[in-house]
Each structure stands twice: as C-alpha cells, then as structure tokens.
C-alpha cells in the first residue's frame, strides 16, 4: 500500500496504539488553539492554559517519556510566545528545583546507609508485640521520619521492615492478608501525613514556598512546622485507628514475628562510627534547613548535604546518577515554569475568577467553602498526577482565590499530600503497592475513608488552630 510493506504498516499501527494518548492530546491542543481566546484572558494566558491542559494529559496517560513532556512544555512556551527563550529558561530553575534535585539525591544517599535494621529494632522496642501498638508505631515513625527525609525515602526504608514482620508471622500470604494491608498502609499513609509537617517533607511544600515568595509572603521552616505539625500529630492515631478498622488483622499479637525480627536484626552488623557520621551529616542538613534556609534556600542546603555525602564517600556519584530520576527533575522544573507563567500572563487570576464565578453561591452561603473547593480540587488532581506537579500548576490559581494567600497556599500544599486513593498517586503508595501484598482495590477501599477524614480535619484545623495562633 503506497509502497509501504505490511511490516512497516504494522509497526506504524503499533506506534499509533502505543501513542494514542499523545495523538489525542495533540488533537485537543490543535482544537483549543483554533478556538477563540476567552474574553478577559490575554492570548498568552490562553496559550499557557492550552500547554497546561495538554501537558497534564500527557503526564497522566504517560504516552511519552516524562522528560519529553518537560521539553514539550519548555519548547512550546517559547514557540507560542509566552516569553522569550531566556525568560523561559529563568522560570525553569529556582530553589524549589534545586531542592527536588537535592532531596532525590539525599534520598539515595540515606537509603544506601542501610539504617532500616536499626529503625526496625527501635520500633519494636517502643511498641512491643501488640498489633495495634505496632500499627501505631509504624504510622508514627513513618510520619515523623517523612517530615524530615521525604516520604519516598521513608517508604523505601520501612517497606522491608513491614514485610519481614509479615513473613515471620506467617509464610502463607493468604493467612495474613489483613495484617499485610494494615502494616503496609500504615507505612504509606504514615509517610504521606508526615510529609506535610515541614517544608523539607516534600518538593510540593518548597514549590508553595517559592510561590509565597512571588506573592511577597514568607514563611520560615519553624513557622511552617508550628502551623502544620500539630495536624500531623492529630492524624497519626486517627489514621492508625481507621486502618485497624478497615483491615482486621488476623493476629492481635505478633509474638513470633517480633521475636524472629529481633533475632534477624541482631545478626546484622551493629551501628558503626561511619553510620554515626552519616547520620550527623543529615542532622547538619536538617539544622541548616531550620536555621539557614531563609538565607541560603532549602535547595542549596539539600545540595550541600549531597556534597558532604559525596566528599565523605558515603555514596558514589555513579549510584546517585543511576538512582536519581533526572527526568522527574526536568519535569518539575518545567511545571514550575508553567506555574510561574500562568501567574505572569494573568491566566492564574482569570482561572481563579472562573472558579469564584462557578462556585459563587456556595462560597457566599457556606463558611470555609473556598477551603473545601481547594481541598477537593487539589486532592483530586494529586491522585491522578504527582503531588508536586499539582501544587506547581494549581498553586498560582488557588493563591488568587481569596485574600489570605498564606492560608490558601498552606491548604493547597497540605491537601496535595492526600494521595490516598490510588497506588500511583504518591511514591510511598507505589512503593508499598510494588510489594504485591496489597492491591489497587485496597487503596480505594481504605483511601476514601482516610481521604474524607483528612479533608474534614484540614478544614476544621485550618479554621480553628490557625486563627488561634494568628
């Protein structure tokens, strides 16, 4: 047919099948470009919205590699005249991107230290053998650690501990289905709820901080903790209770499992001086974040930590290079550029006005309606997209939804951590899902309960505690 062999036609059709969402996205993009610019919106503003829509479609459906989406965003921002090439390049890199890069590399360095065995012993010493206490312990430790070292790092460290406890309780997976779910979800959800506690808990928090800066606002590391950490502490027992009620564990006590775990951990090498130095470097990074981040930026301090780990030989560059997802860094840079240009072109304000017009009646009738709208929008988007990308794109819009931008921004950042509903929503959930011991349906089963509780808690918390401390 037209000189094409059957084989080349088949190859082409296979490409079409694999890339169908890319083709659909391009078609949607072309249709949107051909439509007239909505009234009240600049041409550049309309074009940046088209780029946002098409980029989000490609991020969600993954028809092309993530770095290709990043390149698409940057190239089309220039081609469609959103800004000149230098302007786009400047909007691509800021301290938030440095932080994401630094925290991904720190994560590799920390995971390579093999602290999991010491953590396992620590948890068991604190909780004893009762399943309820162990679940609480897993949730609490995951939450506390993820506030400082990031949710994916904690999930990667905690997963083998949880799985070992399950395996030592019973080799037959069918006999410990409830226990498996409750322990693994306590790791995933514990990591998620903890990640909101400090700015360094996740890239999304740092992205929001950079938007605060653009809006002429500022919040220090400690101020963030004072505003948000109590919510983490309140959530820990509630989430543990919901998990226990959702998946009834088969055993009330894990005597055998705990005993065997302690024996296994005892066989592993003791904490060495080298481990202590590695922990000390992280402590330095943490202190830097708390006391110096307003001067030097969270990203620079994270990268300084990576520098120390490399210089001291705790991690090889080859390991960092192999295990750091450079494509994700590129993509976050591109989404931050999108966010910045949504703001600069006036598209953020226009979109915010559309949301206000759409929900005007509700906003005027119900108190906290703006919070509820932001939380629902952010949570929905964070469950199909990455939480950082959600904040990068939604942040400039939600900050324009009311007068108290700090309040709205914090609500957005916190709600972006409510990725409880799907296995792909957050790295911690994907890591736990990769164990094969929990299924996609389990996430929905328990996720909606935890999600609804977290949403209600956030609305209540933001409109009581923040008023009190202000």
């Amino acid at each position: 047919m037209l000189g094409f062999s059957r084989s080349s036609l088949t190859n082409f059709l296979f490409w079409v099948t694999q890339k169908k969402w890319f083709l659909i996205t391009i078609a949607v993009g072309i249709i949107l470009v051909l439509l007239p610019t909505p009234s009240g919106l600049t041409v550049e503003g309309y074009r940046i919205i088209i780029i946002v829509i098409t980029a989000l479609m490609m991020i969600i459906t993954e028809p092309i590699p993530l770095p290709a989406v990043a390149i698409y965003i940057l190239v089309f921002e220039v081609i469609l005249g959103i800004n000149d090439a230098d302007g786009i390049a400047r909007s691509f890199m800021n301290d938030a991107v440095f932080f994401i890069m630094g925290s991904l590399m720190l994560s590799v360095a920390i995971i390579k230290q093999g602290w999991d065995k010491q953590i396992a012993l620590g948890i068991i010493t604190l909780t004893g053998n009762k399943t309820k206490n162990i679940v609480f312990g897993f949730t609490a430790i995951s939450a506390i650690l993820s506030s400082f070292i990031g949710e994916h790092t904690v999930a990667a460290i905690m997963l083998p501990i949880g799985m070992t406890l399950i395996r030592f309780t019973s080799e037959d997976k069918d006999k410990v289905k409830g226990l498996s779910a409750v322990l693994l979800f306590s790791i995933a959800y514990g990591s998620l709820i903890g990640s909101i506690g400090t700015p360094s808990g996740g890239g999304r928090n740092v992205i929001m901080m950079s938007y605060f800066h653009d809006f002429g606002l500022s919040i220090s590391y400690l101020e963030w903790m004072i505003k948000v950490y109590p919510l983490v502490i309140v959530q820990i027992p509630i989430i543990s209770w919901v998990l226990i009620k959702s998946f009834t564990p088969e055993y009330n006590r894990l005597d055998t499992g705990v005993r065997k775990l302690v024996v296994q951990v005892a066989k592993s090498p003791n904490m060495t001086g080298r481990n202590t130095v590695a922990a000390f470097i992280f402590l330095l990074v943490f202190l830097g974040w708390v006391f110096l981040s307003e001067t030097y930026g969270l990203g620079t301090i994270a990268l300084f930590g990576v520098f120390l780990y490399l210089v001291a030989g705790f991690v090889k560059w080859e390991d960092l290079s192999k295990n750091t997802h450079w494509g994700v860094i590129l993509l976050f840079g591109a989404t931050i550029s999108l966010g910045s240009n949504i703001n600069d072109t006036g598209a953020a304000l226009w979109l915010a006005n559309q949301v206000v017009n759409l929900f005007e009646t509700i906003m005027n009738s119900f108190p906290f309606a703006v919070d509820i709208i932001i939380i629902v929008m952010t949570t929905t988007m964070a469950n199909v997209l990455s939480s950082s990308a959600t904040v990068a794109v939604l942040g400039p819009i939600t900050l324009n939804l009311g007068e108290n931008a700090m309040h709205l921004g914090l609500v957005t950042a916190i709600a972006s951590a409510f990725g409880y509903f799907t296995a792909v929503a957050a790295p911690a959930c994907t890591i736990v899902y990769s164990s094969g011991l929990v299924g996609a349906k389990d996430f929905l089963k328990v996720g909606w309960r935890v999600g609804v509780i977290s949403m209600i808690l956030l609305v209540f918390y933001a409109n009581t505690y923040w008023l009190i401390i202000n």
Binding site: M1, T10, A155, H325, V424, I431, G436
Partner: protein
C-alpha cells in the same frame, strides 16, 4: 522450532504452561517461558527500584521472581529439565540481567531442547513484541485474556503464530477443528494442525466454510490437500463443508470441545486495525483454545 510461553501468575497460568510445554515436548522445540511484570509508573520508577534494592538486602524477591520459581517447579515436577538442574533448585542467583527490563535463567531441557525463563518489566504487549522480535519465535502461547483490546493487539502486533489457551480443561477430550480456505495462511495452519494433533493425540475436523452456496476449486483443493496431509501422517480426520458466515460457523462447530486452528488474516493491517478480522472474531467468541498461524 522456537516457542514462547507467556505466563502471568500461578493462579491463572497453570493451563497455559501445561499446554505450552505439551506442545514444546511434541515438537522438541526450544522453549522460553516469559513473565512480564508490571512496571512502576514513570514518576516513581527510580524510587521503587531503590526500595527493591533494600528488599534484596532483607532477602525478599523482586516482583515476578515468584512466577519464575513456580514455572521452575512445574518444569522440575514434570521432568522437563535435567535432574542436575532440579537438584540445584531455583535461586535468584541464576537470574542474569540482560538489558534494563529483562532478566533470564537458562535451563537444560530434557524432552524438549533448552528451556529459558525470562522476566521482563513493562507494558505486556510491547515487551512480548520485543521478545518475539529478539528471539525469532515461531509460536507464542498466551492465556485467554478478558481484555478484548489486549487480545486484539497481541494478534495484530506479535510477529509469530499465536496460541491462545482459552478456557482449556485438562479433563476434556478435545478434537481439533482445522479451518481451511484458499488463503495463503491455510498451508501453515495445516502443518501446525498435524503437529498439534500429534502432540495431543487427537482427531481432526477439517472445516471449509463458504459464504455462498457453492465451493470453488480453491476451497475444495485446500480441504483435499489438508485431508491428504492428515492421511499421510496417520491422523484420523473428517472433512466438513458448511455455508454461511465463517466466524459464526467456526464458533458453532468448535463448541467447547475443540482446539481451533486457522491461518492469520491476510487483510491489509489498516483494515484489520479498524474492522478486525475473522480469527480475532473467532477468538473472542469461542470458549476454547485457538491457534492462529502466521
């Protein structure tokens, strides 16, 4: 002859592996058993990889290894691999990483030639397509999938004959339904038909369907040649001639007690893409195993 058997889990892939190995044994084919494990989404692939590294240090197997171990045990229990291999047992150390998404275990076969176990990660269609392309397989054996689109894509894009082990019952006494016509695919289908009939020691129904109330020379000739081939190889057969819609008649004749064999559609790939094909329709409708010969 090279055979690729795609398995997914102990729970669902038992019949696929059993039938696949039975055919491999009959054909003395070099056999590969492949499991395509799900790959983490692109956002989280690196962190999942890191988590799995930690899992290794706690002696947990990576996803998919349990499927290979189950396949190994099946081969060992049924004497498909040499006693030395059986004695050594399955170990993750045997797994050799070749490329980013592919690991393999090489085993020495007994009744059939070499047996390989392959673990791949990623999209099932893309990975199976790549494996067939790399290994130049003659037949790919897969389980019946509830997903219509997946079956369509496998048949359309995998460059080997496809045997779909759909609702195979080991206690059922099957016959072989060999659909023949004047298309170029019939010759290959007849050859495979003989081999499968010999492998399962079953009788053959040679079915010729005409859409009009007349059988042309091409159709008659194809049926006669197929019969001659069966006679020569000592296989019991009967010729059946029917008039009507081919897909519908093949489905009715097959019932649930036949293994259907037919040639792949010779339609243009674009036509197949938009309108489907006869083999695809039969595969969707028939509650029995089907071999589509390319």
């Amino acid at each position: 002859m090279k055979i690729l058997i795609a398995v997914a889990s102990k729970e669902y892939s038992g019949p696929t592996l059993r039938v696949g190995m039975q055919i491999a044994k009959a054909l003395n084919a070099s056999t590969t058993i492949v499991d395509v494990a799900e790959k983490a989404n692109k956002f989280n692939s690196k962190v999942v990889g890191l988590a799995q590294e930690r899992m290794d240090s706690w002696e947990f197997d990576r996803p998919g290894i349990n499927v290979l171990e189950w396949a190994f045990n099946f081969l060992a229990e049924n004497d498909y691999i040499t006693p030395t291999m059986v004695e050594a047992g399955f170990s993750t150390n045997m797994l050799v990483e070749i490329g980013e998404n592919r690991s393999e275990v090489f085993l020495k076969g007994t009744v059939c030639k070499d047996v390989q176990l392959i673990l791949r990660n990623g999209d099932i269609i893309a990975e199976l397509r790549e494996e067939v392309k790399q290994g130049h397989y003659d037949v790919t054996i897969i389980g019946g999938s509830g997903k219509r689109r997946m079956a369509h894509d496998l048949i359309q894009y995998i460059d080997s004959s496809i045997f779909v082990v759909n609702q195979f019952d080991p206690n059922q006494k099957y016959r072989l339904l060999l659909a023949v016509d004047d298309s170029t695919g019939t010759k290959g289908a007849v050859k495979f038909g003989v081999r499968v009939a010999q492998a399962f020691k079953i009788d053959v129904d040679i079915l010729t369907v005409s859409k009009v109330d007349r059988f042309g020379d091409g159709y008659k000739g194809a049926a006669e040649r197929a019969g001659k081939f069966m006679r020569r190889t000592g296989i019991q057969y009967q010729n059946i001639y029917r008039v009507g819609d081919p897909s519908e008649i093949i489905k009715n004749e097959a019932g649930d007690n036949h293994i259907v064999i037919m040639g792949a559609s010779t339609k243009n790939p674009l036509m197949k893409f938009f309108k489907g094909s006869k083999p695809l329709k039969v595969m969707e409708d028939c509650p029995c195993p089907i071999l589509i010969v390319k």
